[in-house]
Symmetry: C2
């Protein structure tokens, strides 16, 4: 139920846009039928609060003995700290790479040895930046136990990476759910469904629907 609700909210405020026939070009160069900017949710208090409460529920139901919350910089910081605030837990934020001048820390804030940490991300694509954050926390002596995110594209490569690192991933909604809701709402035609599924399976070669 929550996956459907969040998918609809993202479509409502155009945080998720679908354009199967006129693809978006991502910064990686990939053509994509979908563009997602979850940062827009921050400007809609009702949507932001639904997401906050749902993320808090994920932490409570999927994990035990959580000591701290980490936000993936930059987009995972806002919802990450809201979750930490709601649960009265310590918060840190973590960069997936040092900035150019190298003077800044990867981890901002203070972590303790063996702290059980849940990482908050806004969107899972290839999973690369989340896993770098997991590595940074591990290298600093903490124990990152899982990642939660607002949405995932559901790429096989990401699933495989998380499995290999033994990291649990829980997302509020996903690409397939967004497609289902968009078809129900007549925002896209179901004749493009096969092509949209092809993109999820092989985004690096997809052209357009």
């Amino acid at each position: 139920v929550i996956a459907s609700q969040i998918a609809n909210l993202l479509l409502d405020i155009e945080a998720v846009r679908l354009r199967p026939e006129q693809p978006f070009q991502w910064s990686s160069g990939w053509l994509s039928p979908i563009y997602c900017d979850n940062r827009l949710t921050l400007s809609f208090p009702e949507v932001r609060t639904v997401i906050k409460n749902a993320l808090v529920e994920l932490v409570k139901t999927k994990f035990t003995n959580v000591d701290a919350i980490a936000g993936v910089a930059t987009a995972g910081i806002p919802q990450g700290v809201l979750v930490a605030d709601a649960l009265n837990l310590p918060f840190v934020y973590v960069r997936s790479a040092p900035k150019g001048h190298g003077l800044e820390n990867l981890i901002e804030g203070k972590i303790e040895k063996n702290q059980r940490i849940v990482v908050v991300e806004d969107l899972i694509s290839t999973g690369g930046s989340s896993l770098k954050v997991v590595d940074a926390l591990t290298n600093a002596g903490a124990n990152p136990i899982g990642i939660i995110a607002i949405m995932t594209y559901g790429f096989d490569a990401a699933k495989k990476s998380f499995r290999e690192k033994n990291i649990e991933l829980h997302c509020l909604t996903n690409y397939t759910q967004v497609i289902v809701e968009a078809i129900t709402r007549n925002m896209i035609d179901k004749t493009v469904l096969a092509s949209l599924e092809e993109w999820r399976n092989a985004p690096e070669v997809w052209q357009n629907a």
Copy 2:
């Protein structure tokens, strides 16, 4: 009272460190008797909450008809979104400069024309990055009405810049208050007071106490 309380909390958790005899070197090259990392406050839920509540109080008492909150990226994002959450207001975050590849927006989230926006910053030094954020919001059609911050060093140059831009600045605590508390707590000796005051007046030429 709040300025004293916050100064003491920052000293307690070593978010503020004073070393008048063995100065810190800032990334600007300046030698400084003080080093401040307010991001550490995020990892101490009680301190974080005292700061959140005090910032919320500033917004309520110093400004009228606030439509949205903006956080200065990156360090102003966490407390910024906590304030927005507590007041149920829209939130955006704003970079003071575009990142290298230029693909990212200066403003993340959505602003509306003429929205009255309070900007949240963690620390005011020369004031440069806060004022760039004010400019970015103004250029995008919004109406930034003021800046609030956890702490300010109290440099004259910053005060002058804010006055020239007609931007109200309100901070929870400041350098002078921190010095007073540190002397009361015998963390530094009052014989260095004159030198510490010299630093605030001319940080670019100060050497050590």
